[in-house]
């Protein structure tokens, strides 16, 4: 009889068990959380089945600190420490700051704790309550967890995809949603009601157009958020574009420093957190080289996009 031992987790196992762990910690802390994307979106039928490597959860407003502290007591830590120098100073306004990543040396998955979700323009508490009221409960790792229901997941999967609408995976997700909504009688109109309440009519417009849903204008018009959404969508999937934007806005004398950070970033900014501890120097070099090649290939298109943004 082999003795039990602390498991070296596989990614799929870690993702499922982390759902249970987060649910338990949230329960202990009295914080409401909703799982979004990932396995729960698949279970709800709002995303095609595919493996996940991280866990996404939407936390009720005001609950982040409690959840973060509880995770840290269990050995999790922020992927990029708060003390670390941010990558972008000027280009940050074109990017979405919407979550905190946690990692753990023994867990090969990231926990992505969202304090909001880009594309919803209603206030965070309105969005959370709208999704919470419609929540579903599913079993993950034989543990009951709360998640956004089909329509909530449809909004989130759609918004996530439409942040980078040209990416093959995004196209596949939107196609899937269009089919899933069509198969459920009346779902498109029900979706329209959720969309109006959470203020994502503009950001979900490409999906809504395909479903034939009629959405009335919403009351949320935070122009900064909407501008950020348009810019981010315009520079979708292009870190290179963000670096061009950063470089363009940086005073000349500071540009060499920005260029160095772009070409030789600190590992926590480009290496999956759970790989960090076991990464050899050679492997790190290979990752750097691959990242650099990708950046060079995207340099011209990134520059073109950067010229269209923020002028």
């Amino acid at each position: 009889l082999a003795e039990e031992q602390t498991a070296t987790l596989r990614v799929g196992e870690a993702v499922e068990l982390a759902h249970a762990l987060l649910t338990r910690l949230a329960e202990i802390e009295g914080v409401r959380i909703l799982f979004i994307k990932g396995p729960t979106a698949v279970l709800m039928g709002a995303r095609p089945p595919r493996p996940s490597s991280d866990v996404d959860v939407l936390c009720e407003p005001g609950g982040m600190e409690k959840i973060g502290a509880a995770l840290e007591r269990c050995g999790w830590r922020r992927r990029v420490p708060e003390s670390a120098k941010p990558q972008f100073v000027y280009a940050a306004k074109y990017l979405f700051d919407h979550s905190v990543h946690y990692i753990h040396d023994e867990w090969p998955c990231d926990l992505d704790i969202h304090f909001n979700f880009p594309g919803f323009f209603a206030p965070d508490d309105v969005v959370f309550e709208a999704l919470w009221e419609r929540r579903a409960t599913v079993e993950v790792a034989h543990w009951p967890v709360h998640c956004a229901d089909f329509l909530g997941q449809a909004c989130i999967v759609g918004l996530h995809a439409l942040r980078e609408p040209e990416a093959p995976r995004s196209r596949a997700d939107v196609d899937w949603l269009v089919g899933a909504l069509a198969r459920r009688g009346g779902a498109a109109d029900q979706l329209a009601a959720v969309v109006q309440r959470t203020g994502c009519a503009e950001s979900l417009e490409p999906l809504l157009r395909r479903t034939g849903a009629t959405v009335l204008p919403d009351a949320w018009s935070d122009t900064d958020d909407r501008r950020s959404w348009r810019s981010r969508s315009a520079i979708s999937g292009a870190a290179t574009t963000a670096w061009w934007l950063e470089l363009r806005a940086t005073p000349w004398q500071q540009r060499p420093g920005v260029l160095y950070r772009a070409l030789v970033p600190a590992p926590e900014h480009f290496v999956s957190g759970h790989l960090g501890a076991e990464l050899t120097r050679g492997a790190l070099l290979r990752l750097r080289a691959r990242r650099l090649m990708r950046g060079l290939r995207a340099a011209t298109s990134g520059w073109r996009r950067a010229r269209t943004v923020g002028r």
Partner: protein, 101 residues
């Protein structure tokens, strides 16, 4: 209730994944120090038999009736249960619970 009549069940505070090849369990009854535990070989088999409360004798019967029936199932069942108990993954059924299932 004699030791032979004691029924065991999975702790309600354990989450687990089982892909058919291995079982990984996670205790959630204490905050901090939550390390997943890998169940191997007979321990995993015994865990699977505990979908409902079982006595050690019933677990042994399950082991004996498997396709690859094991030698000395009684001893193995007990050792599997002991290991699960030590890891805090199973609990004794309150009297009457087993009959109610």
């Amino acid at each position: 209730m004699t030791p032979e009549e004691t029924a065991w069940r999975r702790s309600p505070d354990v989450a687990f994944v089982d892909d058919g090849l291995r079982v990984v369990a996670l205790r959630l009854d204490r905050e901090g120090g939550n390390s997943p535990v890998l169940l191997r070989d007979v321990t995993a088999v015994v865990w699977r038999t505990l979908m409902a409360p079982r006595t050690a004798a019933e677990v042994a019967d399950s082991l004996a009736s498997e396709d690859d029936a094991r030698a000395q199932p009684v001893g193995l069942a007990q050792r599997g249960l002991d290991a699960l108990l030590e890891a805090g993954l199973v609990v004794r059924c309150p009297p009457g619970v087993k009959q109610e299932r």
